[in-house]
Symmetry: C2
Subunit: 344 residues, 2 copies
């Protein structure tokens, strides 16, 4: 913002010989303006290079035309997990087509997500908010629901399902299907590296996994279930852990390609044959799963769409007061070499 002597509605009004009210009305496409007046004003606006001041509009109209996006606090996620850039791309695209701007949360160390949300709202900077992940006992969901501020969630709400707009995959089914598939190809000891406890998506996937084991008449073995952070370290660490199990699992589901990729390296180095000794399946279907030496079977969750439709939902929440709407984005299990060989 610079002290350029902006041309204002007043200038336009003067030159078009109408009142500022009228200028304002043609700006906002008010229906009851005569075609003649509209044209004249439009022409003057063009001649003067006039462009409405968004800030002034916001103050007067109580609408900002911008959407706030809360990025995960832990910046590692932003870096490693391809979900975030992809979903963000979907959000940007969606926002563009709905004529919204996107304001990103500045992730400061000290500030909790809730504080960021509150600041966005209290400073009146956004019309609505997108939460990019769903935690168990998420205080942001709680808060936003309680003050009835328009928001949408990527993921499944931990509570208040009837009030929270959200877009998600059916992660329960995805894990169920994947586990069943591994069982069908003859695997008996199926391990799972499931992501962070405390994330709804982790809960859902574990549930689906357990259910599938049960229906396949396979025992659930707690020692085959891993949860934790999703960085490189973890991939290696768990890989080594699994290597040391006796008997080793003959299948492994990992909820992110990157980790799967890392773990795969450990197994290969140790002379484990994939998929013969160990079938591996993962999530996100990122570039890594395709480019891997042994291409990885992976669940494509359509991150872009998750982002894109979260905007759609949010726009409806803002404009029509929609609440509790739920959108399921289909996933797809892309089968590749890491699960396609014969079992030993």
């Amino acid at each position: 913002m610079i002290k350029t002597n902006q041309t204002t509605v007043k200038d336009v009004a003067l030159k078009a010989k109408v009142s500022p009210s009228t200028v304002s009305r043609v700006i906002s496409n008010h229906p009851k303006i005569s075609e003649e007046t509209r044209k004249r004003v439009l022409k003057v606006m063009d001649d003067l290079g006039y462009y409405p001041n968004a800030i002034a509009r916001s103050l007067a109209s109580k609408k900002t035309g911008t959407l706030g996006v809360i990025l995960p606090n832990r910046s590692e996620d932003l870096l490693l997990n391809p979900f975030f850039p992809e979903a963000l791309r979907g959000i940007i695209k969606g926002a563009a087509s709905a004529s919204y701007d996107v304001l990103l949360s500045s992730s400061t160390e000290g500030k909790s997500e809730l504080e960021i949300v509150k600041t966005f709202i209290r400073s009146s900077k956004v019309d609505g908010i997108i939460l990019m992940s769903s935690k168990v006992n998420d205080e942001c969901q709680e808060y936003l629901s309680s003050i009835e501020f328009p928001f949408s969630l990527i993921g499944s709400p931990y509570d208040h399902k009837e009030k929270v707009n959200h877009v998600d995959n059916d992660n329960y089914m995805a894990a169920y299907e994947l586990t069943t598939y591994l069982s069908m190809i003859g695997r008996k000891r199926i391990a799972l590296i499931a992501g962070e406890v405390g994330q709804m998506v982790t809960m859902k996937r574990i549930e689906g996994y357990k259910k599938a084991l049960q229906e396949s008449n396979l025992p659930f073995d707690e020692t085959l279930l891993y949860t934790g952070k999703f960085d490189e370290e973890t991939g290696y660490t768990y890989g080594v852990d699994i290597l040391n199990l006796t008997p080793m699992p003959d299948a492994l589901i990992i909820t992110d390609d990157l980790i799967a990729f890392g773990a795969t390296k450990v197994f290969k180095t140790a002379g484990i044959s994939i998929p013969k000794d160990l079938a591996i399946a993962s999530f996100n279907n990122s570039i890594l799963s395709r480019y891997s030496d042994i291409p990885l079977t992976s669940v494509d969750i359509n991150s872009f769409d998750l982002g894109y439709y979260s905007v759609d939902l949010l726009a409806k929440a803002i404009n029509e007061g929609v609440k509790g709407r739920k959108l399921i984005i289909p996933y797809e299990i892309v089968k590749r070499q890491s699960t396609e060989g014969e079992a030993k």
Copy 2:
């Protein structure tokens, strides 16, 4: 923004028995407020749960406290090139520590970057702008310079160097050093896949490459220089092209890991031994270069820092009117197996 009956300066003023002016002054930390008054007002603000309306502040003060970031129009970039998410992460971090919010350009198909810039400025939504890449004849740089609007550039300005704040690697030197290194390990025919013509970074790297060839007494062979889009297709296509050259090059520089990764697959499938027959070096040092079957030598350009310091520069441009400042972010050539074997 919701029609919550916000508490305003007026409410605070009333309860604290001061004028709104005074409240405003304690909000903005005006020095000449008595400690006593300050404390009383602060207490009332806290009691009332008051939080200043950012929009109103903006309108009155002509400062928005937000930075506009222009993302590349072609969304493929955002997806594939790890530079963008990384640099964006740096920007977000930098913005947070400088107390700015980040507004993202909504990349619509029809709109040029220049139009987005103009809209940001004319609607008074941002105090400054970050351009995430530098094109030859970039009209945004031209425009922003001409109206003297604060901005900073990631990359090298194509012109008006004395006016444009920018942060960049020394891409000339990086390409020069990498080429020289390949020559030093005995390579005689060094090919280059250089990225898009029209990007300043591509120009710089080609220059450095040529200079190094010359100083190493190697001929510059036009048929060994490739430019083009950076998607998967390109990697495969050029890989096949190179395979069909006679004689084949014995070294290849590629300005992105992903493409290098793709090309590598082509070569491996064709039975080319890396690095024996063909040494490969690339840029960005992404996760891919490490995880590759044959780990790739790659230039780490420190994308995060590029983003982070672009904010630093921009803040100085806004607050101190700084112009033409230049910041060089060091790069690092990370040597790995793809260049470390012996030549044939």
